[in-house]
Structures are given as C-alpha cells and as structure tokens.
C-alpha cells in the first residue's frame, strides 16, 4: 500500500482535477454531490499523500536524492521538457500538509458556503486549486512547476473574484493576478536563462549541474539568475515590495483565504526557493538578500497589522509577516527551520482564518474588530480554538509556533546576522501584540454588534477543532530534545542548532510582553489605545495607511502605465495611421486630382500631345540608334 502510493503519487493531484472536471461538466446542478465529490477526492488524495509521506520518511529518502518518475511532455530539436513526480521529504511533507489542510477546509466550506448561488462552482474551483497546488508540489521540472505556479494564480484569481459582482472583489482579483504576473516575469526570465545555460529545467539534473556551475557560466550571471528567480516568490508569497495584493485578496470567501492565502499557495514561493536551494546556496549575496527581504517584510507587515481594523486583513498582514520569517530562515540557509515554520504556520493560520470565517458567518460578514466584542461566550468553540491559534502564533510553549519560531531565531542568532535577529525578535513581540489585540477586541469585552450571534454549524466547527489540535501539537516533532523533524527535512546536512535557553526564554518573554501590552490596552481599558493612537498619530496613520505603498502603485499604473498607453495609442492613430498611412493615401489622392487637370477635354490639345509624343519617340530613336530609326522610316538596306 505504501509502495503503491509512493509509485503513484501522480494520483494525488489527478483526483482533485478529475473532480473539477466532473463538477464543472456534470454535477453542477446537484450541490451536495459536487461538495461530496470535491471533499471525497481530496480526502482520498490526503490518504495517498500520507502513505507516500510515510514511505518517504521511513525510507529516509534524502532531499538531494529524490525519487523521480517522469515522462516526456514535449520536445523539439534542442529543447526537451519532461514532466514528472518528485518525491523527497520536502515535497512529501508539503503534499501531506496541503492535502490535510485542504480536506479540512473543504469540509468547512460545506457549511460556510451554504445557500450560495455558486456552491458547485466554488467547489469546482477549490478542486482545481487543489490539483494545481499538488501539481506544483510534486513537480520534478521547473517549467512544470511554473505551469502549476500560474495555475494556482489562476485559481486564486477566480476565487478572490468569486463574488465577482462586487467591484472590490473584482479589483482585488485583478490586482492579485497582475502583481503576481509582474513577479512571474522575473521568474520566467530566470527559468529561460537556466534552460539556456544548463540546457535543462529538470530539478535533479539542474542541481547536479549547478554544483559546478563554473563550467557553464560566471558568478555574475548566476547571481542575476538567482535574483530573477527570487522575484517570483516575492510576488507569490507576498513579500515586500509586491505584498500589496495579499490583503486585498481577503475579498474572497474566507475558506479561500484560509486555504490559498494562508496555508498553501502563498507559501509556494518559499517552497520554490526550497526546491532550488542548491542554486541559491551557490550565490551567498542572494541568500543574504532573501534573508534581508524576509526579515524586513516580517517586521514591515507586522507594523501594519498592529493598527488594522478588519479581522481578515490583520490575518493577511500576519501571513505576510510569517512568510517573511520563512524567507529569513531560508536566506540564512536553514531549509529545516523554514519548512518547519511553514508546516506549523499552515495549521495555526488556517485555523485562525477559519475562526475568522466562523465569526464573519455569525456577524453577517461585518469584519471590523472594533464592532465585535464578547464573542467568546456566544461562540465558545470558535473562540477557544482561535485562542489556541493566537497562542501558537505568538510563540507560547508548548504550542507549535513556539518551536518553529525558536528554530528560526536560533538560526538567525547562530548565523551572526544580529540585525536580522533583532528584526525577527521585534517581529515576534509585535506579532504577539497584534494577535492578542485582535483576540481581546473581538472575543472579549462588551458586544458592539447588533445581530444575534450563535455558534456555527458542525461542519465548520469540526475542522476548527482538528486544526486546533494540530496547531497545538504540530511543533512537538521538532523540539530541541527530540529533533525528529530536523532529521527528516534538511538540505545537505541535518541541522541541529544547540538549544539556546537564553533565546528560548527571551522569545517567551517577548511573546508574553506583547500579550500583556495588548491585554493592557484592549482588555483593561480600550480608551487607552485610542489615546496612544492620537499621541503617535503620525506613526499610526503611516501604519494604518500601509505606508502608502498601494497609493504609490496606483499612481504608477494610472499615470505612467496608462499615460504611456494613451501616448502609444495617440501616436498610432495620429502618426502611424494619420500621417503615414492616411498620408500616403491622401498624397495619392491629391496627386491624382492635380493630374486629372491635364485632361482638358479639348480634342486638339490631345492630338498635339499625341503628335509631340510620336515626334519625341522618333527623335529619341534617331539619336540613340540611327539605323533603327532609318529602318523605321522605310530604309531597306
């Protein structure tokens, strides 16, 4: 059974794909059937994926020596692309995590989407997303991965714009796709360069060739390629400066936010770098850049999150910030820590999003946390599971987030990048603060809303409980005392940072401090928070307006891009078309209208011209070839 799953891992993406096709073409009318198909296919995929993952881990397959099955996709003279399945600890872990979280979120959607017009369509999109994401994970070829990469982008577009009659949703979807497209431009350039220089995009082959890249190219080129490839993840994983689409993406239905914009798709960027870590490892400056952008994004997004009012937006910024952590770890060379955080983050962030969804469901989709309050009593399951999520993300032991964050902080500290370490630590404090701010405002205190609130249905709370369970314990497989994780997932050598009690204690203290501050400001006396905001109104406005990055981009597209476009268009109709094309036309026309005046209609002038013409011909002939002229005039000799 385990063997079967390992050899047939291609089934994992195929099943959701089939369910997409069946729902789209056959069962669209029958909502329940569609939902069951979608959930069922994902559950079977999850089963296969878990068996395969078990197989990979029990065999101690190395990341450098994955199991690959591939077939030809297309070929021509000088360009052969294979597609296939690559199983190694990283992809096995991702596959298991994605199928598990997806299954839970699919189940959750059954309740959440109840009564929606596009129920079946929603599930078909979800299935399509699942298929694309799993395809991305098992890709053995970077081009195949790029295909899946864009397909998840497509699904993200479709699902963000699911309520497409809303202008905000429509715009958010477009923004997400185009922002990612800008980034994919870089990625595509990187892939093309790789193909041209190394003649392959197969991951295993590439890793072999890149380890002695000097035979093929220079260090400078490699640096450029690495940067180009990194641009892709910057977009997809919402890193600074292309993070702007992710908060807007919250326009989509909440299960989508949980699945795509928290647990799975947005970490695809991290996953891509993890896949190509052999490339990045060759160019330390780019690694530092990855770390720096990750660290900066973590801090930057956290500093925005502390003033936002919309529940899902706070979570979105928190996602950006946490992915920044993963990037930081990757940039410092620790695949282990990065993947570990990816793993725990998937659970607690999905949990919190689903919790937020449950709250929104009860409050009829009003997301302002200042207008909530007191939800813990009315929605106990949602509330307490959410609390588990907050504990996990703040880094309170023994919840999962603590262990993975500790691993990252340790890596940063050991690597000697103290600035990055400080940023990470500061982020950790801010994370605790804004998450508990959210918690206190939404779940405690006086109810600020008018609607009658009741706990969500069983299909929604069950996934919450399961996720809360994972969010609590998922980190225990990677503690310094039992480094199971660290022995599974690593690049080159297993990575065992020595447990540093100082850092461990420090991070707990930071988390508690953040929590306490939030407790102080938002639980004990909320007016204090407002006074703080007024006191630092400049910083508050800066943070609340997201440092005006969106405005800058909007200005850029509307002024520069659209202005340029209009310029080109005017050039086209006035210069190319107006002056050149129609110019030639009217030139011909006016020449004709002049020339026709020669036709006076007077017979005799025609006759004169005719005669002169004959004369001219005769003269020319006589001058150029007298014998011919003579012959013409009747000469016989």
């Amino acid at each position: 059974m385990v063997q079967f799953s390992m050899h047939n891992a291609w089934l994992v993406p195929l099943l959701p794909a089939l369910s997409f096709i069946i729902i789209a073409f056959i069962t669209k009318q029958w909502k329940k059937t569609s939902a069951i198909l979608s959930v069922g296919s994902m559950a079977i995929s999850c089963f296969i994926a878990s068996l395969a993952a078990y197989g990979v881990f029990s065999n101690y397959t190395l990341t450098e020596e994955p199991m690959v099955y591939s077939v030809k996709w297309f070929s021509m003279a000088g360009l052969n692309i294979d597609v296939g399945v690559q199983l190694d600890p990283v992809s096995a872990m991702m596959m298991f995590m994605v199928t598990l979280v997806s299954t839970l979120i699919f189940i959750y959607s059954i309740g959440y989407m109840e009564g929606d017009q596009g129920y079946s369509v929603f599930f078909s999109y979800l299935s399509l997303f699942g298929a694309s994401m799993l395809l991305l994970i098992i890709s053995s070829n970077l081009l195949q991965m790029f295909v899946a990469w864009e397909l998840v982008g497509l699904c993200s577009y479709l699902l963000i714009g699911f309520y497409s009659h809303k202008v905000t949703a429509r715009e958010a979807a477009k923004k997400a796709f185009i922002t990612c497209r800008v980034a994919d431009f870089g990625l595509l350039l990187g892939l093309i360069s790789l193909q041209l220089i190394f003649g392959t995009l197969d991951i295993v082959e590439l890793s072999g060739k890149i380890s002695n890249f000097e035979q093929y190219t220079s260090m400078g080129i490699m640096t450029i390629i690495a940067i180009l490839i990194f641009i892709g993840p910057i977009g997809k994983s919402g890193q600074f400066p292309l993070h702007v689409w992710l908060p807007d993406a919250m326009e989509g239905p909440t299960p989508v936010s949980a699945l795509i914009h928290a647990a799975t798709m947005v970490v695809a960027g991290v996953y891509l770098i993890a896949r190509t870590i052999f490339l990045f490892a060759e160019v330390p400056p780019v690694m530092d850049m990855v770390a720096a952008i990750g660290g900066f994004t973590a801090l930057f997004a956290a500093s925005i999150a502390i003033t936002q009012r919309d529940m899902k937006r706070i979570l979105a910024y928190s996602t950006i910030s946490q992915i920044g952590y993963m990037m930081l770890a990757l940039g410092l060379g620790s695949l282990t820590a990065s993947m570990f955080h990816l793993w725990t983050h998937a659970f607690f962030k999905a949990l919190m999003f689903l919790g937020a969804g449950s709250v929104l469901y009860a409050l009829h989709h009003k997301g302002d946390i200042w207008k909530m309050g007191g939800l813990l009593r009315k929605m106990p399951v949602t509330g307490y599971t959410f609390m588990v999520g907050c504990l996990a993300i703040s880094g309170v032991p023994p919840f999962s987030g603590f262990w993975s964050k500790d691993e990252i902080l340790l890596t940063a500290f050991d690597s000697g990048h103290y600035i990055l370490f400080t940023m990470a630590a500061l982020t950790s404090f801010m994370t605790a603060f804004y998450m508990w701010r959210l918690f206190f405002l939404a779940f405690t205190g006086q109810a600020q809303h008018e609607v009658q609130v009741k706990e969500s249905p069983r299909t929604m709370t069950l996934p919450l409980v399961v996720l809360a369970f994972f969010a609590a314990i998922a980190g225990l497989i990677g503690t310094p005392w039992a480094p199971i994780w660290q022995n599974w997932i690593f690049s080159v050598h297993p990575h065992h940072p020595q447990a540093n009690t100082m850092i461990m204690l420090g991070s707990v203290v930071l988390a508690l401090a953040g929590m306490y501050l939030a407790y102080n400001l938002y639980y004990l006396d909320r007016s204090k928070a407002e006074r703080m905001a007024e006191k630092y109104s400049f910083f508050w406005a800066l943070s609340y307006n997201k440092f005006y990055v969106d405005e800058l981009y909007l200005w850029f597209t509307h002024t520069i891009v659209d202005g340029g476009a209009r310029l080109f268009y005017l050039f086209d109709i006035y210069i190319v078309d107006g002056i050149i094309v129609n110019g030639i036309g009217s030139l011909t026309k006016s020449f004709g209208s002049r020339l026709r005046l020669v036709q006076t209609g007077s017979l005799q002038s025609y006759a004169l011209v005719f005669f002169l013409g004959v004369l001219a011909v005769a003269v020319i002939m006589a001058l150029t070839d007298p014998s011919m002229a003579l012959g013409l005039m009747g000469g016989v000799e």
């Binding site: 297309f74 497509l154 431009f185 093309i192 268009y569 050149i580």
Partner: protein, 505 residues
C-alpha cells in the same frame, strides 16, 4: 493502392456547398446555414483525420496531389501538407467551422453571406496546402475579394466606418501583395536559368533561391518581408488590423485574425525563409527588432482601448510581434515557436472574437464603459471570454504558453537583453486582458441586460471546438509540437547547411 485525394476534397467541400447554396431560394435560411455547416464540417473532420494519420516520424510532404497545369510556366496543381501547413489547415477548418456557427444569428442576406464565407474558407485553405507558388498567390487573391464584400455589407461602423475599414484592409493587403508579387516573380525568373526549366513549386524555388547570390537574396527577401509583413501586421505595417477587425463582421474577424493573418507568417517561413537563407540571415535582426517593437507598442496601445474589438485587434498585432521575433531568431526552436504561436493565437483570437461578437449581438455595444457584470447574466459567455483572455495572456495550461516560452527561449538566446522587452509584454498583456474581462463581465450586473439569454445551442460551438483545443493544446503541447517540429526541423537543417555554404561564398 491509390488513396483518396483528401486535400482536394477538403479544399472543395466548402466551395461546392457554396455553389449549391446559390441554387437554394434565399428565404430558405436554415438549409443554407446547415449546408455551410456541413461543408465546413467535412473539411474539419477530414483535416483532423489527416492530422491524426500524418506520419510525423517520416515528415516531409504527405498526401501529395500533383497535376501539371501550365507547362510553359512550370505551374502545377500541387497540393500537399507538411508539419507546418497541416496545423494551419486544421486551424483554418476549426475556425471556419466555428465561424459558421458564430454567424448563426445573422440578420440579413444569409445566402450571400454564407456563400462568401464558404468561398473565403476554401481560399484560405488553398493558400496553406498549395505547394506551388502560382496556386498560392491565386488562392491568396481569391481570399481578398470576399473579405472586402463582407466587411462593407455586414460590417459595423464605430470609430471608422465599415466602408473605410473594408477599403483600408483591402488596399493594404493588395499593396502588400504587390510587393510580394514582384518579389516572387523576380525569384521565379531568376530561378529559371539555375534550374534549367521553369518550375513554380516551393521546393524548386527554394533549391534555386539557395544558390542565388547574397545580394539577390537580400533584396528579394526585403520585398517578401514587406509583402508578408503587412499581411501579418508587422509593426509598422499594422494599422489595418485594429480598424479592419473593428469594422468586420464577427466571422470575418475570426477568420482574418485567426488564420488569414497567419498566411503572412506562413509565407515568410515557408517561402521567404527557406528559399532565401542569406537574405533571411541579413534581415533577421530587423525582423526581430520590428517584432519586439510591435509586441510592446501594440500591447500598450491595447491598454488604452475602450472598444473590445480594438483591444483584440491590437492584441493580435502584439502576438504577431512574437512571431516576427521568433522568425528573426532563425533557429529551430524559434521557428517551431513561431508556427506554434500562430496556431495558438489563431485559436484564441477566434474564440475572443466570437465572444465579442455575441456580446455585440446581444447588447448592441462593444464600448467597455457601457458594459459590465455580464457574467451574472451570461455565465457561459463569460467562460469563453475569460478562456480566450487567459490564453492570450499566456497562462500555462492553455495553448498560448508553451509557444511563447519557446519563442522566449529562442529570442533570449539570439538577442539577449532585447528579448526581455518582448517577454515583458506578458505583464502588459495580462493588464489589458484582465481589465477588459473585469470591466465587461464582472462588477455589478446592469439592469438593462437582465433579459439577455446566455449562449446556447449553436452559439456554443465556437466555445466547444476552440475551447477544447485551447485546453488540450495547453496540457499536451506535444500534440502540436511533434507535428510542427517534424516540419520545421528538416527544413531548418537544410537552411543551416545553406547558410554554411553561403557563408563560404
């Protein structure tokens, strides 16, 4: 065993149906439509069959039919297909078949319209399967006439009147073909002493052309470049394209953008490039530069449009820029990409125009600010529109991506940093394609369109045929590339040899 003359049957099926239609009373609208559908379907089914049984391992010209015609000029009725022309033939028939259904709800003069449409389809097919340059030109001129009539009778006047659009289209193409004609006649005349006899077949001309001096090859190629270039709407000879499409009725836009334009690229590759390798080598950087300029320029111009047809019109100029860039690389990957991209763009442009045609037919407008929220009222229409939009922005998984990818590879290899401008086109393309989709289909539904019916019945045919190909070609690119490569690779090997020898001279 002598096999059926497949190509002649494919070629004549629509034409014969057109002749039969002429004898049907014009009130009998349904028989006329079904006859048109039958004729194009026969061609479609048979060309799909040929596509299936073509032996890609053997390659070369297959299903050859050759009957000498005018001995003194070496003209023969020479039909055949290879890996380059067969995809084009299939494309023509897919689009032709869809175009018949896209014109299902035509309002006036049905008989004349379908007769002209069928003749047009036959003519276009003829250009792709002819392997004699005389027959090629003959079919090409056959194509121009129905187009003009169809535009000025059934077209629509917006920014420019339909008469202007039809005239511009026709004159532009005729001027282009004048250059072409001079080039081809010169090539033919010069080929006679080399070959020792007049022969108008592509292969003979290529053989002769390869032996001509570099100077001759250069100016002959330049003439053909202008001729075929204006046909493929190479920048800056593109300005007929947006206006022409905007004026033309849906079926003509589909066929014109889908296949007719491709005659330019096809001729440039199959006639000019392979006959005149030294000329091609000389002009290659210029072609690539014009291609890159076209990609960026037209993509930006498309961004400023508010009329749906103009967007697609400029977008097709932009996509043809990729083809020019690819031809300019003069290497096997690039030419593969060029042919595949022509096929891919044909499918997506036709689907795009058919969707726009439906929008225009139902709402009586193509002006984007007047549209919005149609996805609620017409979900299937939205599917077909978005499918075309995503294919056009090169979404992987749809047919447009892999051809673009191969072109990028080839372009990057040949021109390095300059190709980046063209690759950057994917961002702008995404911007205008998604904007058009968003502003037309999404957002709050408008009340005035509440009673519109979604596409159904015959209107679904373009979506079904073209949509299927879009997806199948995207997921299994080898369906297309095995075929194209079997045609391109041997010819490119010959070309490389010719270049080596020519370089020595």
């Amino acid at each position: 065993m002598k096999s059926l003359p497949f190509l002649t049957i494919i070629l004549l099926a629509p034409a014969i149906c057109a002749i039969i239609m002429a004898f049907i009373p014009k009130e009998q609208v349904n028989p006329i439509k079904w006859l048109a559908a039958t004729g194009t379907f026969i061609s479609l089914a048979m060309s799909a069959y040929l596509y299936g049984v073509y032996d890609t391992a053997a390659g070369g010209l297959q299903f050859v039919e050759r009957v000498p015609w005018i001995k003194d000029l070496g003209v023969s009725y020479f039909l055949a297909v290879d890996g380059i022309s067969l995809p084009m033939l299939l494309l023509t028939n897919m689009i032709g078949f869809s175009a018949v259904f896209a014109s299902w709800n035509l309002e006036s003069r049905h008989r004349e319209f379908f007769i002209l449409l069928c003749l047009l389809i036959s003519g276009v097919m003829g250009t792709f399967i002819a392997h004699d340059i005389f027959i090629f030109l003959l079919f090409y001129e056959v194509v121009v006439i129905p187009i003009y009539i169809m535009v000025i009778i059934w077209g629509s006047s917006k920014r420019v009147t339909k008469e202007y659009a039809g005239m511009k289209l026709t004159i532009y193409l005729l001027v282009g073909s004048a250059f072409l004609l001079v080039g081809i006649i010169a090539l033919f005349v010069k080929s006679i002493p080399i070959l020792g006899e007049p022969n108008m077949s592509f292969a003979a001309l290529a053989q002769a052309g390869n032996q001509m001096s570099a100077f001759d090859q250069k100016w002959l190629f330049a003439l053909m470049l202008i001729g075929f270039g204006s046909l493929i709407s190479m920048w800056p000879f593109h300005s007929w394209s947006p206006d022409g499409y905007a004026g033309a009725p849906t079926a003509v836009s589909m066929i014109h953008a889908g296949v007719l334009k491709k005659i330019g690229g096809y001729g440039l590759i199959k006639i000019a490039l392979f006959s005149l390798p030294l000329g091609a080598k000389f002009w290659a950087p210029y072609m690539a530069a014009l291609g890159i300029a076209g990609v960026a320029y037209a993509a930006f111009a498309a961004l400023a449009q508010k009329d749906l047809k103009y967007i697609v019109g400029y977008s097709s100029v932009s996509h043809m820029g990729y083809v020019m860039l690819a031809i300019g690389t003069v290497n096997v990957i690039g030419i593969n990409g060029a042919v595949a991209n022509m096929f891919a763009h044909g499918v997506m442009a036709a689907l795009f125009f058919s969707a726009i045609g439906v929008i225009y037919e139902k709402t009586k407008t193509r002006w984007i600010p007047d549209l919005g929220g149609l996805a609620r009222q017409m979900p299937l229409l939205a599917v077909s529109f978005m499918l075309a939009a995503f294919a056009s922005l090169g979404l992987p998984g749809l047919i447009g991506f892999i051809p673009e990818f191969t072109i990028f590879i080839a372009g990057f290899k040949a021109f390095g940093g300059f190709a980046v401008i063209a690759i950057g086109g994917i961002v702008i393309t995404a911007l205008y394609a998604l904007r058009a989709g968003a502003n037309t289909l999404f957002g709050p539904p408008r009340e005035e369109y509440n009673n519109l019916r979604d596409i159904r019945g015959a209107e679904l045919v373009p979506l079904a045929v073209l949509g299927l190909v879009l997806i199948a070609g995207g997921l299994l690119p080898s369906l297309l590339f095995d075929m194209v490569n079997s045609g391109v690779e041997p010819l490119m090997n010959q070309l490389d040899n010719a270049l080596k020898i020519g370089g020595l001279i």
